[in-house]
């Protein structure tokens, strides 16, 4: 077949794909008879109401000398690892505020960090395109340098996010500026599977975030600069199970909903969205109104029931607490006493859901908990 014939077929195929996408979009719109907020209102539900001193900052973790970019909790024992522009990982006991480790990284340009499920190792990655693993039982020299126990090399772009597979210390998933995600075997340092990339259908721009399902660790979600989120099954890497459209800008952050059947996203378009895994429906858009309407969302986390969605934004110290049922902002942690002094870049819930940790460009981490009167129904 000649080049010109191929080009003709390519044009026809492009039109076919575009038509199919339009039909899909139309059909999905027909199925969107309501959203979560309208449905909940119709059921007579009212928004969560916080008193002025209900959610309080109960710890400030000081020690980094640069912007905090990433944090992760252990599955138990309330420890946190954080990564900063200062080129260090710090491991904290969140209850006592004490630092147990301060690891000086071989490459200072770190973007992400994660705790292993057994709490004995930490992983990090960044502009060096490598995911490095450190054992917390290794001895640091006087400078804080710890030998790398494993390097996961193979990405052709920066490592934007890393997460261990729940309950599997030997497996970890990374996302990258090279448009792929990789599932790694940490014991061998080898790739188990590559999701997306040149010869497979996948993201068409940098991948910025991953989140693995707690209830089904074979599933994970990725968010990308191509404005989509994709659901992957680690047992079938050749194609995404489903692609979720809707955002109008980079999807900076994705997080599975606690029950594992829905997930949230945060984007440069200023919105957070809630999607249903099984049907693919976009269930809700969380869009602030007024000033800062389109301020990029940097990071999100759900409370343990999913009723609250915490979202950090790329301006001031804004951290909205959304009532996910009613689609309303019920609190701004940036206005609470002792709040951060600069943008919140990362956040995460403790394993039992009793505390939220926020990390900020002001170089601090803060722990937030409910200190008011609790009514049990």
């Amino acid at each position: 077949m000649s080049v010109s014939e191929l080009k003709e077929r390519h044009a026809v195929a492009t039109e076919t794909v575009n038509n199919l996408r339009d039909r899909l979009r139309q059909r999905r719109l027909q199925l969107l008879d309501t959203d979560v907020a309208r449905y909940s209102s119709a059921q007579g539900r009212t928004p969560v109401s916080f008193g002025a001193t209900d959610l309080v900052c109960c710890r400030t973790l000081q020690g980094h000398t640069g912007k905090v970019y990433s944090l992760d909790w252990t599955p138990e024992r309330n420890r946190i690892v954080s990564a900063s522009q200062d080129g260090r990982l710090i491991v904290w006991n969140a209850l006592t505020s004490q630092k147990t480790h301060a690891i000086k990284l071989p490459c200072a340009w770190v973007m992400t960090c994660a705790f292993s499920p057994n709490g004995q190792s930490v992983a990090c990655g960044g502009l060096d395109s490598v995911c490095s693993i450190f054992s917390l039982s290794s001895t640091a020299d006087k400078d804080g340098t710890v030998p790398v126990s494993r390097m996961l090399s193979g990405h052709r772009g920066y490592v934007s996010c890393c997460q261990y597979v729940p309950n599997e210390d030997a497996h970890l998933i990374t996302s990258s500026g090279d448009q792929t995600c990789i599932l790694w075997d940490v014991t061998t340092g080898l790739k188990t599977s590559v999701f997306g990339g040149e010869f497979q259908s996948g993201h068409t721009a940098d991948v910025l975030s991953v989140s693995i399902s707690g209830s089904n660790p074979n599933w994970f979600i990725s968010g990308s600069c191509d404005s989509t989120a994709r659901l992957w099954d680690t047992r079938a890497a050749s194609r995404a199970v489903r692609t979720f459209h809707g955002h109008e800008g980079d999807v900076n952050t994705v997080k599975f909903f606690p029950d594992g059947y829905r997930f949230g996203t945060g984007s440069d378009d200023g919105t957070c969205r809630l999607y249903d895994i099984r049907t693919g429906h976009q269930l809700q858009v969380y869009q602030p109104h007024g000033d800062g309407e389109n301020t990029p969302v940097t990071s999100i986390a759900f409370s343990v029931s999913g009723r609250l969605l915490f979202a950090g934004y790329a301006s001031n110290n804004t951290c909205y607490v959304w009532d996910t049922l009613l689609g309303e902002v019920v609190l701004d942690l940036g206005l609470v006493q002792d709040s951060h002094k600069n943008r919140i870049s990362c956040l995460g819930l403790s394993a039992d859901g009793s505390a939220l940790c926020t990390g900020s460009w002001d170089s601090n981490l803060k722990i937030w908990a409910f200190g008011g009167h609790r009514r049990v129904i």
């Binding site: 390519h10 539900r45 710890r59 710090i90 939220l356 609790r374």
Partner: protein, 100 residues
């Protein structure tokens, strides 16, 4: 580049076919055809898909069923560790790292 023909001195005859992009176009065409198939599958699934309201109900039921320590009003049971952040220090310990 494929040469159309050449004379005895090895010069190109002037009719040159440019195939530099051929393999790339073929690969992209294959990807588009694959994408078409995936999209058709998804359209088929959507024919039998339930409305969003069914998913919204599932969502509400899921949220209501879990105890949540950060809510002013929540279903039980309450875990005693929820208030650990407001209890006094159990033991005084020096900072574990010598760097900071």
């Amino acid at each position: 580049m494929e040469a159309g023909s050449s004379n005895s001195s090895g010069q190109l005859s002037g009719r040159v076919v440019d195939t530099r992009g051929k393999h790339r176009i073929q690969a992209e065409l294959k990807r588009l055809q694959q994408e078409s198939r995936f999209l058709e599958e998804e359209l088929e699934q959507l024919e039998k898909m339930e409305n969003a309201s069914a998913s919204c109900k599932e969502f509400l039921d899921s949220v209501d069923s879990k105890p949540d320590p950060l809510l002013p009003e929540t279903t039980g049971p309450v875990n005693a560790t929820w208030d650990q952040w407001f209890e006094g220090p159990k033991e005084a310990k020096r900072c574990g790292c010598s760097i900071l």
